[in-house]
Amino acid sequence: MSAAPMPIDRGMPASSFGEPLLEIKGLRVDFPEVGDGPAIDGMDLTVRRGEIVALVGESGSGKSLTALTMMGLLPPGAQVTDGTALLDGEDVLSMSPKRLNKVRGSKVAMLFQQPKVMLDPTARVGGQVAEALRRHRGVGRREAKARVVQMLRDVGIPEPSRRASAFSYQLSGGMAQRVMIAAALSADPELVIADEPTTALDVTVQAQILDLLRRKRDELGLSILLITHDLGIVSTMADRVAVMYAGRIVEDGTTADIFSSPQHPYTEALIKASLLEADRGKLFSIPGSIAHARAMERGCRFLPRCPKAAELGISDMCSGAEPTLHTCGEHEHHSRCHAAPEHAEAS
């Protein structure tokens, strides 16, 4: 840990998480031209300083869209229709394009799923690593060059000075992701949004990249929003977990609480699916497919796939009103399920 070249002092130890760095409240993102209802519908999520929060959910639940929205890089056709997203007290969603350019890379950076295609095939790797550094920290060309080599070495790239002038096709997926990490961290951002950063990599490389990310968090006091569908990664990486379903958070809590006492049937099902998969036993899959936000106007969005509602005989309640995201346990454990017990907030 002390091997860090110069840990940024963010005013607190990395172990006790500080005040919120990113606070998403009531976020709604719509694709008006598609007309399937909002893809993200009333999402709340908080990432504190120094914390790794995992955002979990199956494909299509709105995880990646959340990431791009936080970067102010909405895909064509998408529109933020409601909500706020305070990054260090400043709403990302209402920033001017100019301010966004300033914030991207310097306060918040992003990692992507397919690192190789995220690098310009016609440009040398080093130049891309230096981009944020030069843009945000006013570092000159020559100094940037030296810093890039140092940064590449720091993320575990062998022969960094030679690699700096390599092209993306000359790198393996793991190397490319290391380069992307160096590029993302080059201007000392406070928050890194990592969208499935290891999904495209093979297992051993996966572990190395995750180790690197955790080490960087410890060294720099980074906050990481880790988007993944892999609960194995969640259990080793995350301090807290937020489970997303059909555009909303259905459960969140500390990693320990989520795994030991999940309070939402969807979370339970996800855990069950991943445990069985890990045992190489019969694969468990959640019946049905993810609902469109519009299809479920009143009731719980998970109801069509929920085993619990029928089991407990509360289907009427579940179809009548959508449950709120309420406190259901200690350590700020919340669930959006009628069956999860209300827990008095300890003050």
Binding site: L68, M71, L73, N101, K102, V103, R104, G105, S106, A109, M110, F112, Q114, V117, M118, L119, D120, P121, T122, A123, Q128, E131, A132, R135, H136, F167, S168, Y169, M180, A183, A184, S186, A187
Partner: protein, 313 residues
Amino acid sequence: MLIFLIRRTLVLVITLLIVSVLAFLIPYAGEGDPARKILRARVNDPALDQSQVDALTKELGLDRPIYEQYFEWLGNTMTGDFGFSYTSRVPVSEMVAPALSVSISLALAALLLALVFALPLGIVAATRRGGKIDNVITFLSQSAVSAPEYWVGPVLVLIFAKHLGWLPSGGWSGLAYIVMPALALSLRPMGYFTQVTRAAMTEVLAAPYITAARSRGLSFPKTLARHGMRNSMLPVMTLFSFWFAGLLGGSVVIEVIFNIPGMGRLLYTSVLNNDVPVIQGGMMWILTLAVVINTITDLLYGVLNPAIRVTHG
């Protein structure tokens, strides 16, 4: 890289040999005895004396086997000797060289003019895709593509030479003479270049590495300059070299309309006169240059996108 160059050079030599066979044989593609046709062109007498025909055949070596003629011609060609024109008896090189330089100047002027307009228009259209500006640019580029030179040429002459009197209507003796033909010749490539630039840039702007560059805080224009341009230039360069190679042979229509002594007119008259050495020499020059341009383009691919060097090398 060295192996790549050696391999390219080998391919180049083989291509040139094939090209030389084509250039040599093309004039013989027509029917009839060349010696007879030449004589008919020289003397206006329908009833030719067979002994005269035989004498000329022998003089030109046309009675020997065709492969013998080819190898002799190829050997001479390598030393820069393309023979003499049957009709004017001037060395072929002395006819081809000036005509070719005229055609190259005209082609370059037209294509650079096309590029100067097409690049910004195509980029603007791509960044405003679906908007009003894009629609206007697309309409204009489609109009340009469908504007034939035999129509644009005379219209330009009418406007700029006849009515306004700003430019000479024809001839080739200075910079002013190149403006109108180059403009007329540039419209169609301009349209195509615009469309290809727009398509390529549209694709590149949707590429993941553009999003990644934006995520580092690069502004849109800066991202475009740093990562958009280079990646979208490959197809434009391909089309440019395609047009350039095509225009080496000159544009018969434009050269006739504007009375320009280029390759188009030279080849046209040579074919009419059955001037075999001029056709052969001219073709050899044009085809060789075309092959060279193609090779340079291929090499530039590797410079623009290093990943190509590996897969194609």
